[in-house]
């Protein structure tokens, strides 16, 4: 009987602790979301990204040509712009609190480093995802409204253009943005000055946009990566993984022929490792 009561008390305490944890996470999440919504720089970035995506699609004739040509036109600009926007969303997320001494103050509250990082990441992630969705969503709507042919078929099989393919591109772009955001949050937790944060952010962009791809090319040229391993090795670089996923699941599907461009499973696993690893580094950085 005493054991039952003890178990009941333990279960009650666990529930209370879990509720308190969820409340703290929600509180931090809401603050981040409000910060994103109230920061003019983020709104300008969102507007600029939307303008560029619409402009690139218009210049490429994508509004009349259809969803797939628009994806092909937008892929390269997105490879460059999305990491920049994601880094801008995250590189001062934790650093700002540290510089103001708010991290010290938060340390006197029952907030763990993990709760702080997850809350900050989640809040910024929603803002960043909305930025990407609005930019690409406007393109999708514009194509639907101004396209030459009215699509009667929403297909994902070979040889057909489809809004589903564009939706895949949109979702993959959001996921890619969130991976880079996690890297930015990790950097934000490691640096202690704005200047060094900017410098590290630039280095991170170079590594993400060029360095890892070059490493893959070197690995292939030096024979470290075999031909058969290449599509899996692309997962090492978030950029290559994103590019491979887009080509494999949209362009490749529509064309219906050709060799495999990427391993979706390995690429998604790469995304997960980069995100999880970066957030783990951020937690370590906050608790130092």
């Amino acid at each position: 009987m005493a054991a039952d009561e003890s178990a009941a008390v333990d279960a009650g305490e666990q529930t209370t602790a879990s509720t308190a944890r969820r409340r703290r996470l929600e509180t931090i999440f809401r603050r981040e979301l409000r910060t994103v919504a109230r920061t003019r720089t983020f709104l300008l970035l969102a507007a600029a990204l939307a303008a560029v995506t619409l402009g690139v699609t218009w210049v490429g004739g994508g509004f009349t040509a259809g969803y797939l040509p628009a994806v092909v036109d937008l892929l390269t600009p997105m490879e460059l712009l999305v990491p920049i926007v994601a880094i801008a969303f995250g590189y001062r997320a934790i650093l700002g609190d540290e510089q103001r001494g708010e991290l010290d103050v938060l340390e006197t509250y029952p907030v763990s480093a993990r709760e702080l990082v997850v809350g900050v990441y989640a809040g910024r992630a929603v803002g960043l995802a909305a930025t990407v969705v609005v930019a690409l969503g406007l393109v999708g709507i514009a194509i639907a409204v101004t396209g030459d042919d009215t699509l009667r078929m929403y297909a994902s099989h070979s040889g057909a253009d489809s809004p589903i393919l564009f939706a895949r591109f949109l979702v993959l772009t959001v996921v890619f943005a969130l991976v880079v955001l996690a890297v930015a949050i990790a950097l934000s937790a490691l640096v202690s000055e704005t200047k060094s944060a900017l410098a590290v952010a630039v280095v991170a962009l170079v590594v993400l946009l060029i360095g890892l791809d070059l490493a893959l090319v070197y690995g292939l040229a030096a024979g470290l990566i075999g031909d058969g391993e290449l599509i899996h090795s692309l997962a090492v670089s978030p950029l290559s993984a994103y590019r491979g996923l887009v080509l494999e699941t949209t362009v490749g599907v529509a064309s219906g022929t050709g060799p495999r461009i990427a391993s979706p499973l390995a690429s998604l696993l790469g995304f997960a490792v980069w995100t999880g690893g970066s957030l783990a580094v951020a937690v370590w950085g906050v608790s130092r």
């Binding site: 409340r23 700002g96 103001r100 001494g101 010290d104 340390e107 006197t108 509250y109 029952p110």
Partner: protein, 251 residues
């Protein structure tokens, strides 16, 4: 190094024992032993660079001492120690009310409780003002209100009266006394020796990283043969009071 044990209420709620803290090769705290009593205001005074902020940060659990321990003997609460940094600042883009509500929500308090704390420090009229539009003194008052959120049994205030006009300085010390009257252990640093004299139940003079003098104001005044806490300060400090002594540099 921070420990927690269950003790009777007569024991110090926070007990620093043989604290040492070094920044690289520079020793900032040397063999500091300091019991902090419940329901009392402990005033920490000392020249610039004597180690006050470092000691307060160690007591608040924000800095790991190089040696020694800080033992917390209070009850388990959502928040053990409230803390006002020397230069408080808040995330811009939020009003005072939103800022305090954020901190209050972390310990399960609602907005009205946060506003009560704002009223306690005399700043309720500024609740809708963005934090970036506050003066330095007002920001400090918001910081003091923040330090009380969650009713922590120990509150550490690093120069709470700095930058405040005489009336508000006095009010801040009144608030500290009220908190102590309600059973909270308040430890604060200040250069306003008159206010420390009037409000502190215990005065600690820190000199060159060590405790030079400690005790009830009347008792240490009597033992040193002086009339005021300023006299205690001047009698306890080993160097020139008009020169900043930089620790690690011998003049």
């Amino acid at each position: 190094m921070s420990e927690h044990r269950h003790h009777s209420s007569s024991e110090p709620i926070l007990h620093a024992q043989a604290l040492e803290h070094d920044y690289g090769s520079i020793s900032v705290l040397e063999n500091v032993t300091l019991p902090i009593s419940r329901g009392a205001v402990t005033g920490l005074i000392g020249p610039n660079g004597s180690g006050k902020t470092t000691l307060l940060r160690v007591l608040a659990g924000l800095l790991e001492p190089t040696a020694g321990t800080v033992t917390y003997n209070g009850e388990e609460t959502a928040r053990r120690i409230g803390y006002l940094p020397q230069q408080p600042a808040f995330r811009p883009g939020f009003t005072v009310a939103e800022t305090l509500s954020f901190y209050a929500a972390l310990v399960g308090e609602d907005k009205s409780t946060a506003m009560d704390r704002l009223e306690q420090v005399g700043l309720s009229d500024a609740r809708r003002r963005p934090v970036e539009a506050l003066s330095g003194g007002m920001t400090r008052l918001v910081g003091i209100a923040q330090a009380t959120i969650g009713d922590p049994p120990v509150i550490v205030l690093d120069e709470p009266a700095s930058g405040l006009d005489p009336g508000m300085s006095s009010h801040v010390f009144d608030v500290a006394t009220e908190l102590a009257g309600a059973g909270t252990a308040v430890i604060l640093s200040s250069h306003d020796l008159e206010l420390v004299d009037q409000h502190a139940d215990e005065v600690v003079v820190l000199d060159d990283g060590s405790i030079a003098t400690r005790g009830r104001p009347a008792a240490i005044r009597q033992s040193l043969g002086v009339d005021t806490v300023r006299g205690v300060y001047e009698a306890s400090i080993s160097g020139e009071t008009t020169t900043v002594r930089v620790q690690g540099v011998s003049s």
